[in-house]
């Protein structure tokens, strides 16, 4: 194999979008006189083109100038990504065990249903999700068997060429199916479809932070329009010189919380502020909070535990007074939480909104307590919804956005702030990452539950 043909046939195997980039990597490898290594890698991995590509892109870390060339592409730096990916294939024994366990659970539930047993709501839902998982799992198993026969055919000199193509096809199919499996295997959170309250507060950096808060608020507003959600501004406290000190909105629509749940946290901006005379770069922060809105059943407020304060409530009220100030403040005595609303001209409506907000606050507290218990066990990177954690940095000088949970750069801030596809693709990657973490936790729990009974038996 000559040194020129090697990259070209490799490129054929790779994803069409990423052709140019991989060609550059290979050429770089070759020009770095490590082409022997490259070739051997390519030859060895020829049967596994996708893995080969991953290998190449992870090697590329060492070639920084090239990384800048590839600004158009999302660029994964985290080497652990590829490790994680391999974890969720059937080659991983633990994962296969877990899937088998799920299949058994499904068979059990299905049998019970067929026997005419009344399954509760939770069980029925579980059966429904497991059904999908099992369907795909069966498909994957079939594909692996196919792969087995194809690899045998590869040894046969006559059939080699035909088999190679089919083999590759089979591998990509398997990868697609396995990715799908990861997406649906994680239990859907009951909250994912609930509406949210978005709160943005400027943090360190004064004026600059307020300006950035406004930009981010607008970004989510545009993102809501892009997704077809309803975005209602409930309150904006703006500063005299522009920007928002604090802004909040309710977003309602399908799957709002599900998509935005990992947006909460500290967003950081690094740029030369408009107000800066000496051209120095400032770092400012804003805090974003995403709180799911509970239904009235989730949080029941006892009328005795709340104190409603209406502004200007002194005097006889009623027909005796003309009052236009419709603001309402409600205090929840046990927790000390307050909610203040002056969104509409109707005091009654404001009261309803304030109660809803109060419920949201209390609910959030309950949730975060619950989450804390879970995350302390699980040590999740993405899933931790701590408000004070730095999650994303916008660097205007390099026109770069870094999500610290993905260690992952996106370029072109202007279009990112438009709240369109760029933001969506980042969010989707976050969700996938969170799903994987979730899955790891589920598997660990499964492992533990497997070993525990043995231990207890041993003790006896």
């Amino acid at each position: 194999m000559s040194r020129h043909t090697s990259p070209s046939w490799l490129v054929r195997l790779l994803h069409p979008l990423k052709q140019d980039r991989s060609m550059i990597y290979c050429r770089k490898l070759i020009s770095n006189s490590s082409h022997q290594r490259c070739l051997s890698v390519c030859r060895n991995r020829a049967v596994l083109p996708t893995t080969c590509h991953k290998y190449h892109s992870s090697i590329s870390q060492t070639f920084k100038p090239l990384a800048i060339l590839s600004t158009v592409y999302i660029h994964k730096r985290q080497a652990s990504n590829s490790q994680k990916n391999t974890k969720f294939t059937l080659c991983n024994d633990k994962y296969r065990d877990y899937l088998n366990h799920l299949e058994e659970e499904w068979q059990d539930l299905d049998k019970r249903r067929n026997m005419g047993e009344q399954l509760g709501q939770d069980k029925s839902l579980r059966l429904f999700t497991l059904q999908k998982v099992v369907d795909i799992y069966e498909d994957v198993k079939v594909k692996y068997e196919e792969l087995e026969t194809l690899s045998q055919m590869l040894n046969d000199e006559e059939m080699k060429e035909e088999a190679l193509l089919e083999h590759q096809q089979c591998l990509t199919d398997i990868e697609d199916l396995e990715n799908n499996l990861v997406d649906i295997i994680c239990p859907v959170e009951r909250l994912d479809d609930s509406d949210i309250v978005l709160e943005i507060e400027s943090g360190a950096g004064g004026q600059e932070a307020m300006l950035f808060a406004e930009e981010i608020f607008d970004m989510y507003q545009q993102f809501s329009t892009y997704k077809g959600w309803q975005f209602n501004v409930t309150d904006i406290t703006d500063s005299d010189t522009g920007g928002y000190r604090k802004a909040s909105a309710t977003i309602s629509g399908q799957g709002v919380y599900g998509l935005l749940k990992y947006e909460g946290g500290v967003h950081r901006v690094q740029r030369v502020p408009k107000t800066e005379r000496h051209g120095r770069i400032h770092t400012s922060t804003i805090a974003v909070a995403i709180c799911p809105q509970p239904s009235e059943i989730d949080v029941v407020l006892n009328p005795k535990e709340i104190q409603i304060e209406v502004f200007r409530s002194s005097g006889p009220g009623g027909q005796n007074a003309n009052v236009t100030d419709s603001a309402v403040r409600i205090k929840h005595l046990p927790t000390g939480f307050t909610a203040e609303i002056q969104t509409t001209r109707s005091q009654h409506k404001n009261k309803e909104l304030a109660l809803a907000l109060l419920r949201t606050r209390i609910y959030e507290k309950q949730l975060s307590e619950q989450m804390e218990r879970v995350t302390s066990q699980r040590k999740m990177q993405v899933g931790n919804k701590n408000r004070s954690e730095k999650i994303r940095t916008f660097n205007f000088q390099q026109d770069r956005i870094t999500d610290h949970r993905l260690n992952y750069n996106v370029y072109d801030i202007a279009s990112f702030l438009h709240g369109g596809e760029k933001l969506e693709s980042l969010i989707n990657d976050l969700l996938t990452e969170a799903n994987k973490e979730n899955l790891i936790c589920l598997m660990e729990e499964f492992e533990n539950s497997k070993t525990k009974p043995e231990k207890t038996k041993a003790r006896k």
Binding site: G317, G318, N320, T324, S326
Partner: protein
Amino acid sequence: MLIENVFKCLRQYTQLAVNSYKAEKYVSNMLFNRATFKLPLVTGHAIHMRNYTSQGNTRLKDVLKFWTKKFSDEGVSEPQESVNLIVAHAMNKKMIHEVNTHERASEDIVQAINKMCELRLKRTPVQYVIKEWDFIDMTLEMCPPVLIPRPETEELASMVVNSLQSSNVKNGLFLEIGCGTGAVSLYILKCLPKMRCVAVDISSVACDLTLRNASFYDLQDRLTVIHGDAFTDATLSQLQHYGRYNIIVSNPPYITSTDMLLLQPEVKLYEDHRALYGGEDGLDIARNILQLSRKLLHCNGSVWLEVGLNQADKIKSMVNQNPDLHLVYKQTIQDFSKRDRFCKLSYQPENS
């Protein structure tokens, strides 16, 4: 005379001798004389106003600042809120937070704001200045001198809706005595699409306004508005023509003679006294409604009333002392400020 002085006098006199006939006469003379309220707005602000309008492009923020100061100087109640609402209305929005106040406003808008603020300076209620107001989730047209719905009345309306929703009466007929803007009736009709309503008001302006508001929300088909005094035989027979009612709801005038003297100028000067003044003890109309209920209500029908402070107990004792009304006092309900504000009664004739 400056407006502050009027209030000072008023405070002094009322504190010294509320019952004194002389003081009453003096204060009421001053209050009824609209000229006293118009006095302070004569010339002062015309000069200031030029200061900010002459620059051509005016920022809304400056307009807000100017009028807020003006209002607080002149002792207009709720200066900040008033200006905010007026400016928001001029920008075709409801609340100030929907408006970008850093924006520069066109000359027309500034003119419109100034015009409205001058009305407010004459103590016109904001609701009449912007000619609309919100009642729970409806926006209703307001028109002087029809009583502006109060936040307490929103509670009354939502309580009636809640009780109807939890009971089986979802396609009945109810009567509102003194409908004013129509807020209560329209809210109930809007929430319960099978209810029908008869609304009666003594003021023809109120009747017309109710109809206008009803057609805005497309509720006129289920609503009949009758102009007249419900306590005259002629109107009563008209009301009886529609059969017996499941519910009578009313926010009757309940202000006592003493309280009438202490009203804010906004209320006193601009709102219909027929919707405010409830006789010596403020219960004249409420009593009449209770008398009427046996002629109009179904068996087990209920009466919902909004009353003034300390009046709920009086109603209760009155009902208990007059068994021939066949009314059972069910419940006193408190408003958001935790004061007795609403009465619920039930009509239960003997052996029927």
